[in-house]
């Protein structure tokens, strides 16, 4: 309106205006698959509580074509989510040891070491 400040309107496709915005939104979108995968295993636990037939039905569903596709998409999503969050971790964790700042790379590598250790521990529990 003439005589007053101009108020810009943010377009609905703002996330296309910069590649970094699109990458951010993709990172956020992976949460959907991370949550869906967790939800699937809650369904699995429920099926297990229902007895052998229910559990085998759940396994069959997960091993079906659509079940495998879902798991592949979920795996890719979780990995993308993990890598992008590990990259951001040094900003959240400002560590100082002996009066000196811990380097960002050390924080990132530390995350991967913990991830690998937890993965090995879970696999070991699975074999036991």
């Amino acid at each position: 309106m003439k005589g007053s400040p101009y108020h810009p309107v943010m377009p609905a496709n703002w996330w296309l205006s910069r590649p970094s915005y699109a990458r951010y939104l993709l990172r956020e979108l992976t949460c959907v698959f991370v949550g869906a995968y967790a939800g699937a295993w809650i369904l699995g636990l429920n099926a297990l509580a229902g007895g052998r037939a229910g559990w085998e039905g759940f396994l069959a569903m997960m091993m079906s074509g659509s079940g495998l596709l879902f798991q592949v998409v979920a795996l890719i999503s979780v990995l993308y989510h993990m890598v992008t969050w590990f990259e951001l971790a040094p900003r959240s964790m400002r560590l100082r040891v002996g009066g000196r700042s811990v380097s960002p790379m050390t924080v990132i590598v530390g995350h991967y070491i913990v991830w690998a250790a937890v993965t090995v521990a879970v696999l070991w529990l699975g074999v036991m």
Binding site: S17, L88, R94
Partner: protein, 247 residues
């Protein structure tokens, strides 16, 4: 010696005559060492004296000349023409009302500084007849965040600022963190009233662009994530505190 002519496309909004912003182009003969601010000054001095924009120091200290150059929030005094194509589009910072041409209304930011209590709230009175003393380590804890020059590039880069009009924004929160981390300060719990509210750090979704565009490497995104952790601990500790701080 003139080496190159660039086409400068400038966002124009003159409230006394324009209903909507318009683009105006200027052909500017420029030198190798020029920055965008030099090109704007050439327009102002030789081609069109009606063009309005803010600037002062011409050395990335005052933070006045923040604007979008080919879509990227930048200081016009730090945007070298040799790094840019022959056609350069200059716009005001995003997410702020435009008063005129490249000049935005900064009230929202100034209100955020006040709301986040961007000043030292002493933990205890200074020693009688002495000044506060800080070790190099204590200084290092907050020095990075004290480098903010209030240029508002981070506000322009942050989509949450555009989506949520109540959000305090990256610079105000990074400056609040600067005081929270200061060994002389005891005001963190008072600042939490706004910085840890639904207008503060929890509105940040860690896009991270605020830190990418910061000309002083303040890293507001990092400051905000650290404030999320600190305010969570403060919230958990609340039942064990003897009394809440005065407002």
């Amino acid at each position: 010696m003139t080496e190159r002519t660039i086409r400068l496309e400038v966002f124009r909004y003159r409230p006394e005559q324009d209903d909507e912003p318009v683009w105006q182009s200027y052909d500017v003969p420029c030198r190798e060492e020029w920055v965008v601010l030099d090109a704007l000054n050439h327009v102002k001095d030789h081609l069109d004296g009606t063009l309005s924009y803010r600037w002062s120091c011409h050395m990335a200290v005052c933070g006045s000349c923040g604007m979008r150059v080919n879509g990227d929030p930048m200081l016009a005094c730090k945007a070298f023409l040799r790094d840019l194509p022959d056609r350069i589009r200059v716009e005001p910072l995003d997410h702020f009302p435009v008063e005129r041409d490249l000049i935005v209304n900064q009230d929202r930011f100034l209100d955020s500084l006040s709301a986040a209590k961007i000043w030292l709230i002493p933990r205890k009175p200074a020693p009688e007849g002495e000044e506060y003393r800080q070790s190099p380590g204590e200084l290092a804890a907050f020095r990075q965040y004290s480098m903010c020059i209030n240029c508002l590039l981070c506000y322009s880069a942050c989509p949450q600022v555009g989506l949520n009009s109540g959000y305090l924004g990256p610079a105000a929160l990074a400056l609040a963190h600067r005081y929270n981390e200061d060994s002389r300060d005891g005001g963190r719990l008072r600042r939490n009233e706004t910085t840890a509210s639904n207008e503060g750090v929890w509105e940040c979704t860690f896009v991270g662009e605020c830190s990418e565009v910061c000309p002083k490497h303040v890293d507001p995104a990092g400051a905000i994530q650290q404030m999320k952790l600190a305010s969570s601990i403060d919230w958990l500790a609340r039942p064990f505190r003897r009394k809440d701080p005065p407002s």
